[in-house]
Structures are given as structure tokens and as C-alpha cells.
């Protein structure tokens, strides 16, 4: 998308005598920088407000990011493979509407969960089929399905809302597993591990990275590119369905405007986590830390009575700054070396 043509003036490449050790790699990594930001945010917050370090408050704060992070994990894989899905928030709306509709028909909790997951998968399959089957650019397809999925919710619901979810359905968004550990946070932790293993320790994860780096090369090395991409869209749809269950359970009601604008926050989280928006690189631990940064910033500002829209300025600045700063730094260093 941007001018990569001008980036190749580095001259003769120097080959180091030995590879950097894992520790050296970690010290120079994006994740460490992010971790520093998290710690700074944490310390500043605990000085700024006496209520910040209360375990129950911190536990409440995790709800700010767990649902978005669940989607961000799948989105990270999708972006690493060079695609994007902007319809995730609309999938939440559609899945939540379907669950609400089922409640009116008298469905019980297990059926509701099944419906949420199925709608998520179906939406993901629709996106995936359009992108891989017809070879369309994912950004346009998902801008379209973003309107379509939420549009269906609006057609069904209009200005009304579905309520009356069964009481045991509330567990997914309001229940606690152990002490201050909520079900959502536990789910977030389990998914973080699962996705980290999937991306960094399996053949599938290798294939995803390979596709993002060089789709043609990946194809010629025997990777079934369309199948992998289709699977990633399915996965993103499924995780949106999971997020829809959690969010609907937490709110206890469905409106067509549910989760409005979340797609941008999810993408911000992924990019903040160091995933290259052009594909080919990125780590799940980075996304996890980014989720904490965004959650803690939102929570800390909230305690200080800063309005939500001012927080969004901060998130926007953060998004641009974290990408711009390393580039500026590299340029300054290069200029100094001559």
C-alpha cells in the first residue's frame, strides 16, 4: 500500500558473526517496549488514583478489554496472513440479535451459546468465501459485510431491544471462576495461550506467516493458501461469536448498535501489539500486552473522570506514535552512522 520502493537504499548488508541470543532479541523487541509502557501506565495510575490498586477494581477493569482481545487474537492471525476483517463488530451484533431472537422463542442457555457460535462461524464463512472463492480484497468485502451484518440486525430489531436472557446465561459475562478472576478473564488467558501456540508452534502458524510474507512463494512451497485464509476467516468469525456471547451476557440486552466501532479498537489493539499491518510478522504476546495497555489506560482515565472520547484521542495518538517512533529512531540512527 505504501512506498516500499524507497526503503531499499540500505546498501551492503552486514552479516553478524553470530545470531543474537533469545535474551538479546527480547531486549530489542517491540514486546519489551510495550511492557515498559504497561508498567509506566500501571505505576502512573496507582499514583494518580488511590482506588486503582484495589483487586476488585482491577478485576472490573479487565472487562474493558477481554472481549475485544478475544477477537484481536484471531484478527492478529488474519492480519499476519495479509488480510483484514472489519466486520467483526457487526458479527457481534448479528450473533447477539440471533441469540436475542432465540430467547423470545424460549431457547435455553446451551442453545443460545450454540446459536452465537454458529452465527459467528457462518459470518466468517461468508467473508472467507468471498475473499478466497472470488479473490476479492478483504478490506472492501468486510466493509461491505460490516454494513450487511449490522444492517440485518437493524432490520430485525429496528429501534427495539431484546432482553429477558435466562439467568444462568449471565455467567459468561458476569460470573467469576475463582476469587477476582472472572470467567471472561480466564477465557482470555486460555485463548491467549492457545493462539500463541497456534501461531508460534504449529505448521498452521508457520503457513500463516509465510502467506503474509510472500503469498506466491507460499503457494509454490505447497501451502494451500486459500484454505488457510478461509480457516482464518472462520476462526475470526468464531471468536466474534464468542465475544458476542460474553458481551450479550454481560449487558443482558441486545440492541443493533451493540459493539459499535469495536472493529477499529480491535485493529488498534493488534497493530499496537506489534503486528505488521501489511502482514508477515507479529506475535500473540505482543497483542496480549497491547490489550493490557489499552485496558489499563481506559480504566485509569475512567477513575480520573476523563471522558471516553478523550481516551480515544490518546488511543489514536498511541497507535500512530508506536508505529512512528521506531521508524523515526531508526532514521535518526542511520543518519548518525552516515
Amino acid at each position: 500500500m505504501s512506498t516500499t520502493a524507497t526503503a531499499s537504499h540500505a546498501g551492503a548488508r552486514q552479516i553478524p558473526d553470530r545470531l543474537r541470543t533469545p535474551l538479546q532479541r527480547f531486549l530489542g523487541s517491540w514486546e519489551l517496549l510495550l511492557l515498559g509502557v504497561t508498567v509506566a501506565v500501571f505505576v502512573l495510575n496507582s499514583f494518580a488514583s488511590p482506588y486503582f490498586l484495589d483487586p476488585w477494581n482491577l478485576s472490573d477493569a479487565t472487562f474493558n478489554f477481554t472481549e475485544k482481545a478475544l477477537i484481536a487474537f484471531a484478527m492478529a492471525l488474519l492480519i499476519v496472513s495479509g488480510e483484514i476483517d472489519l466486520s467483526v463488530a457487526s458479527i457481534i451484533a448479528l450473533a447477539s440479535t440471533a441469540m436475542g431472537f432465540a430467547v423470545q422463542m424460549g431457547a435455553e442457555t446451551p442453545v443460545l451459546v450454540l446459536i452465537g457460535l454458529t452465527v459467528g462461524l457462518a459470518c466468517g464463512a461468508f467473508n472467507g468465501a468471498l475473499v478466497t472463492g472470488l479473490g476479492l480484497p478483504s478490506i472492501v468485502v468486510t466493509i461491505g459485510t460490516m454494513s450487511l451484518f449490522r444492517g440485518i440486525s437493524y432490520i430485525v430489531l429496528g429501534d427495539k431491544a431484546y432482553t429477558g436472557y435466562p439467568s444462568d446465561f449471565a455467567f459468561f459475562g458476569q460470573g467469576y471462576v475463582w476469587w477476582v478472576i472472572s470467567f471472561e478473564f480466564a477465557l482470555f488467558a486460555v485463548c491467549a495461550v492457545l493462539f500463541a501456540v497456534l501461531l508460534h508452534r504449529t505448521n498452521f502458524g508457520r503457513a500463516v506467516t509465510a502467506i503474509g510474507n510472500n503469498p506466491v512463494g507460499a503457494l509454490f512451497s505447497g501451502i494451500r493458501v486459500p484454505k488457510v485464509k478461509f480457516a482464518l476467516f472462520l476462526l475470526t468469525g468464531l471468536m466474534s461469536g464468542v465475544a458476542a456471547i460474553c458481551l450479550t451476557s454481560r449487558l443482558g440486552a441486545t440492541r443493533p448498535s451493540i459493539a459499535f466501532g469495536w472493529e477499529l479498537e480491535v485493529v488498534t489493539m493488534v497493530v499496537l501489539g506489534g503486528v505488521n499491518i501489511l502482514g508477515g510478522s507479529g506475535t500473540i504476546p505482543g497483542v496480549v500486552i497491547a490489550a493490557f495497555v489499552m485496558g489499563m489506560v481506559t480504566f485509569g482515565f475512567g477513575l480520573l473522570n476523563v471522558p471516553g472520547i478523550v481516551m480515544s484521542i490518546f488511543i489514536g495518538l498511541l497507535l500512530i506514535a508506536v508505529i512512528a517512533l521506531p521508524r523515526v529512531a531508526r532514521r535518526v540512527l542511520a543518519a548518525r552512522k552516515g
Partner: protein, 326 residues
């Protein structure tokens, strides 16, 4: 003749005519010239923004900050007007265009000088610009009675049977048609989007061209910001929320390729008109306005699928090419 039948603009124009005709069979009032002029006037902001967005998309970028830019400029000129009611309209227009262009320049410089992917830049500036509106307005609304009469009257003033807002849209369409097809800058847009590497070798500065597209898009968003606020006589944080996607949708429906280098002014105009007609026709044919979102979403998907199948290379594919080598 064959190229005319095959051209996307002709097909889209035919689709719009069929749509309008279908509505007219049941509601003849819809095609009354006065109503069509209303529909056009209603669509004018979308047309203006689609023109700027087209330039940006031609250079392989995207501008998601246009709606926030529009809202911020609208708020600034509304505040200016409440503080200095005597400020003449040309000054207001100048401020709006300059401020809009400046915000476009910020996008453009971030893309050009720091090489940050356009979608990331404009996602970021979108939230920042929206947030700034809140900071300068304290979240308060500026209502009709706080604006001066001259301020509100300008876009509605009727000249030769059409409101000024419509005339500005027409003028800008004409100006863009000239700019895109008859100037070196217009050709540079296509060159940069069609093949950035080749563009560099022909002496075109890719980054500068992209930056110019952003400035154009920003200036148009700023101009529209004033027109929007004056026409609806209200300014608040959330005006035109989500409008950026409608603008991108207009471009996609108009056949402007998101991969860059393909698209015409006529396409952008028709794409915007299509969405505008659908929006205005729904209440007339007694369909709930809640259908609009789903319809425009389906239109985008159909349009992009259609684009892809009509651009597909004929003949047997022996070696699969990169889908969209970025």
C-alpha cells in the same frame, strides 16, 4: 459502442435508471424534477467527499478520517461564527478549506515521510480529530439560534433553480474531471496507483503524490464540513458519524479499485448518486429506513464482486499471479 456497453459507468448508470424507473412506476412523484433536485442536493456532501476519496484510493491509499475532518471543521467554523458573527462567508469558506487541507496534510505527511500504512494513519487521525471536537466544544451542541443567518443561508441560497450546495458539488465534479484527466497531477495519481515502481522511474515522487491526494481529500472534507453544519444548522461531536464508510462505499460501487490506479470521476459521482437515491427512496416506497444499512452493504459486495469478475484476465491461467502484489 462496445466499450460504452462494457464500461462500468454505463452499467451503473443503467442500474440507477432502472432503479429510478421502478420507483417511478409506483410513486410518480419521485421523478418530479423538484424531488430529483432534492435528492441530488441531499447527496451533494457524499459526492464531494467521494471525489476526494477517489483521488486517495487511486494512489493506493485510503482516507478513513474524512468524516471526522468534516465534523471538526464544521465545529470550528460554527464556533468562529458564534464568536464573530460578522465574519463574511468567503472568510468562513477559506478557513474551512484551509483547516480541512491542513488535516489532510497531516495524514499525507505521516504516510509520505514516515511511511506508515495509510489505513493505520487515518484510523488514528480519525479518532484524534473526533476527540479534538469534544475538547474544543466541551461536548456541547451549537444550535441554530447561535449561528448567524448569513452563515446558515449560504448553502441553501437558490441560484438558477438549484441550491448553492448542489452548485458546489457540480462545480467540484467538473473541476475534478479536469484535474484527473487533463493535468500532470491527475496522471500521477493513476501512475502511482497503477505501478508505484514504474512511477518512480518516470520521475514521479510517489509519496508527494499521495500526500497531494490527502490534501485534496482533506480540503474537500473541510469545505463539506462548513456546508453540512450550515445546512443542518447544528454542530456537535458525532455529526457524520460513520460517514467515512459510506464514502468508501460510494467509491467502490462506482468502480474505483481499492488496489489503486483504476477509477473515474463519473464512477465516483454515480456511486454516490446510487447510495443517495436508495437512501431517499426507502421512505417513499414505505420500507423502513432500517433497511438502508443492509442494502448499501449488499451493494458494496455486489459491486466489488462484479469488478473482480469483469477485470479477470481472459484465457487459461498457467502460472497463478500474486493476487494483489502489494
Amino acid at each position: 459502442m462496445r466499450t460504452l456497453v462494457k464500461s462500468r459507468e454505463a452499467i451503473l448508470a443503467a442500474a440507477i435508471l432502472v432503479l429510478v424507473a421502478a420507483i417511478a412506476t409506483r410513486f410518480p412523484g419521485f421523478v418530479a424534477p423538484a424531488n430529483l433536485a432534492n435528492v441530488f442536493n441531499d447527496t451533494a456532501p457524499l459526492i464531494l467527499l467521494a471525489l476526494g476519496q477517489m483521488a486517495v484510493i487511486l494512489t493506493r491509499c485510503i482516507d478513513l478520517s474524512v468524516a471526522a475532518n468534516l465534523a471538526l471543521t464544521g465545529m470550528v467554523v460554527a464556533l468562529l461564527n458564534t464568536m464573530f458573527p460578522a465574519l463574511p462567508i468567503p472568510v468562513i469558506l477559506l478557513v474551512a478549506v484551509t483547516l480541512g487541507a491542513f488535516m489532510g496534510l497531516v495524514n499525507g505527511l505521516l504516510v509520505w515521510k514516515l511511511d506508515i500504512p495509510p489505513i493505520v494513519v487515518t484510523l488514528g487521525t480519525m479518532t484524534i480529530y473526533r476527540g479534538i471536537i469534544f475538547l474544543i466544544s466541551d461536548g456541547a451542541w451549537i444550535n441554530a439560534h447561535e449561528m448567524s443567518d448569513a452563515f446558515k443561508a449560504f448553502p441553501r441560497a437558490v441560484v438558477l433553480g438549484l441550491p448553492v450546495l448542489s452548485w458546489i458539488a457540480l462545480l467540484m465534479v467538473a473541476a475534478f474531471a479536469v484535474l484527473i484527466t487533463r493535468t500532470p497531477l491527475g496522471r500521477a495519481f493513476y501512475a502511482v496507483g497503477g505501478n508505484p515502481h514504474a512511477a518512480v522511474y518516470t520521475g514521479i515522487d510517489v509519496g508527494l503524490t499521495q500526500c497531494a491526494a490527502y490534501v485534496l481529500s482533506g480540503a474537500l472534507a473541510g469545505l463539506t464540513g462548513y456546508l453540512w453544519v450550515a445546512r443542518y444548522a447544528v454542530a456537535y461531536v458525532d455529526i457524520a458519524g460513520g460517514f467515512e464508510l459510506e464514502v468508501v462505499a460510494a467509491c467502490v460501487i462506482g468502480g474505483i479499485s481499492i488496489a489503486g490506479g483504476i477509477g473515474t470521476v463519473g464512477g465516483a459521482l454515480l456511486g454516490a448518486l446510487f447510495l443517495g437515491i436508495v437512501k431517499n427512496a426507502l421512505p417513499v416506497v414505505n420500507i423502513s429506513p432500517f433497511w438502508q444499512l443492509a442494502i448499501s452493504g449488499s451493494a458494496i459486495i455486489v459491486a466489488v464482486a462484479f469488478n473482480a469478475t469483469s477485470n479477470r484476465t481472459k484465457g487459461r491461467v498457467i502460472l497463478k499471479k500474486a493476487e494483489h502484489a502489494a
